[in-house]
């Protein structure tokens, strides 16, 4: 790839801690995911009722995106930001919930509100709805975090003029384990160059 792009901002949510550009922003003393996410939601001072209908993966992804993109503005819509996320547990957390509701043939009640989240890319939808992103988006399922794949995909989206910026990351929820790592790739010069090495370094820092 000839062009050099930059990582303008990055953030993470892991072990009860939400960080932006390497600086801890919010620390939750809770250990259970729903309570941690609720704490972060409160600390970010959000007023978005749809949040409470989301499944855990969407809540986690939504909050990480919120830290990077801040409150939705018209300006965000115009920035034309593509979204490329990945994980290795797909939507298993919600799939299991759904499975429980249909496991017993005599006591069978699947909930449409749960079912609608039994796909991993629904979390991208939630981010797009919140920030009015009509842009390109993709969700990948890998064995492990792959900075290389995210690098290629984001670089290609910008160089082929499919988008101006790319919101990339890894958002994973599997039983009690969770982690979110997101970063924004931009053409505007900043301190961190967009390279596979840098992406992997930032992810390792989590």
């Amino acid at each position: 790839m000839e062009n050099t792009y930059y990582i303008s901002n990055y953030c993470s949510i892991k072990n009860g801690k939400a960080s932006l550009n390497g600086n801890s922003q919010i620390t939750s003393s809770e250990t259970e995911i729903p309570l941690v996410l609720k704490n972060i939601y409160k600390e970010l001072d959000l007023n978005y009722r749809k949040f409470f209908k989301m499944d855990t993966l969407s809540k986690l992804s939504f909050l990480a995106a919120e830290m990077l993109l801040k409150t939705p503005t018209e300006a965000i819509e115009e920035r034309d930001i593509a979204v490329v996320l990945s994980n290795n547990a797909s939507s298993l957390d919600t799939d299991r919930k759904h499975q429980k509701s249909i496991a017993d043939s005599t006591n069978y009640y699947p909930s449409p509100a749960v079912f609608v989240y039994t796909l991993p890319n629904i979390c991208i939808g939630e981010i797009c709805i919140r920030h009015r992103l009509y842009s390109e988006n993709s969700f990948f399922i890998f064995d492990d975090f792959s900075g290389e794949h995210l690098f290629d995909y984001a670089s290609s989206l910008i160089s082929s003029k499919k988008s101006n910026e790319v919101l990339c990351g890894w958002v994973n929820v599997d039983e009690e384990n969770y982690e979110a790592f997101m970063y924004l790739v931009s053409t505007e010069k900043s301190k961190i160059e967009h390279t596979t090495k840098e992406i992997n370094r930032l992810y390792q820092e989590l």
Binding site: S105, P112, V116, I122, G125, C128, I129, H131, R132, L133, Y134, N137
Partner: protein, 400 residues
């Protein structure tokens, strides 16, 4: 690199016919395929109507000459049947001669067998073979193998009701970029309790014949179908002296960032998809001769799509109609079924009627065509608007 994307073969099985010719005859004779459900024992059987294919699984198995221990779901049976027809129709005798691929769409996959045997699997090993046939990719692989393209680029698309239209887009892009010379594209979905119950829960199933773009529309009829098209590069068309049925001239796929299931009321996504399609085709709105609308007859779709059409075409909305009243909504296959109908419209210079329409919608003044119209057509725009605002438009033309 190929400048144009030629359609050189088509295959279809739907509630209104087991091949392209039968579908065409039903379309021009106003013969709809909507009835009470007969092949699935559902508690909703008295309050829904569906577009059911006459062939039983046994008929299809026989036609495909499958061994007794096969694990094809009905979606796979239908898909294999239609895809084979498309390849035969194109006159392909040696698949390996060119770099060929398959992009197949489905939303149901092997769900029909899973729901039949799910609780039985634990106790009874006989039907466990269907577990492997559950996922959507399995049907695609079966079709690829049957067509002799399993070693090449094979992929499955599942983007709800725009699935097959998106398969057409990907296939077209693979040819335009020179990655492949030939791509079989389309989709297949059988009826299943899974979809019937899902749509029932959303309260968008009509208890009578669906009435697209009618003010009193009550919802959709689900349908089953499989439809595939063979897309080929300029190079093959020239080398093999192919008869080109039509061209894929433009396409656009957008998301309308509105809701997990509903489309935005003003049709933001559909508007963007149609505009993008015209840009890719390098055509103006006035160049569109007929729109084969998505028109599912749900309150949400027809309002949203109608508004989007007005936003794109302004005062001069071309003739439009939905063919869902014939076939029902065939979900992942719809974009393929309607792509074939668009090509048939171009080949025969006819606009198919929007059956069952009586009352103009109160939100706008446009109304669909209600009778068969003979008219010189050069371009047809086909809309496929999926749940969650996955909106796709494809433009078909006579000229490359």
């Amino acid at each position: 690199m190929s400048k144009s994307v030629a359609i050189t073969g088509m295959g279809i099985i739907s509630a209104i016919g087991n091949n392209v010719e039968e579908n065409y005859l039903s379309l021009i004779n106003g013969k709809k395929g909507i009835s009470k459900i007969s092949k699935i024992d559902t508690i909703h059987k008295d309050c829904i109507m569906v577009g059911e294919i006459a062939y039983t699984n046994a008929d299809l198995e026989k036609s495909l000459d499958l061994p007794a221990d096969h694990n094809y779901s009905r979606s796979s049976l239908l898909g294999a049947f239609a895809a084979k027809q498309a390849v035969e129709n194109a006159g392909i005798t040696n698949m390996a001669k060119y770099r060929s691929g398959l992009i197949s769409a489905s939303t149901v996959g092997g769900m029909d067998m899973t729901e039949k045997y799910f609780y039985d699997y634990i106790e009874n090993p006989t039907n466990r073979k269907y577990i492997d046939g559950h996922h959507l990719g399995d049907g695609t692989q079966k079709i690829a193998k049957l067509l002799g393209i399993e070693e090449s680029f094979v992929s499955t698309i599942s983007t709800a009701c725009s699935s097959a239209a998106n398969a057409i887009i990907i296939g077209s892009r693979l040819i335009k970029s020179g990655k492949l010379d030939r791509v079989v594209v389309g989709g297949t979905d059988c009826l299943s309790k899974f979809t019937i119950n899902g749509f029932k829960t959303l309260m968008i199933l009509s208890d009578t014949y669906n009435t697209p773009f009618d003010d009193a529309r009550k919802g959709l009829n689900l349908g089953e179908a499989a439809a595939y098209l063979v897309l080929e590069s300029d190079e093959i068309v020239k080398a093999e002296n192919r008869k080109v049925l039509a061209y894929v001239k433009g396409y656009g796929n957008t998301n309308d960032a509105f809701h997990q299931t509903a489309s935005s009321e003003n049709g933001d996504g559909a508007t963007a998809a149609m505009e993008k399609t015209l840009r890719v085709a390098n055509l103006a709105p006035k160049d569109v001769d007929y729109i084969n609308a998505h028109g599912t007859a749900t309150p949400n779709n027809d309002l949203s799509e109608g508004r989007a059409i007005i936003r794109v075409f302004g005062e001069e909305v071309p003739p439009f109609s939905s063919t869902k009243a014939y076939t029902g909504h065939t979900l992942a296959a719809a974009g393929g079924v309607e792509a074939i109908y668009a090509v048939l419209a171009l080949q025969n210079n006819v606009i198919f009627p929007n059956l069952n329409f009586k009352n103009k919608m109160k939100e706008f003044s446009i109304t669909p065509e209600t009778s068969l119209i003979k008219k010189e057509l050069n371009t047809v725009l086909s809309n496929s608007l999926g749940f969650g605002g996955n909106c796709t438009s494809v433009l078909f033309s006579k000229k490359p």
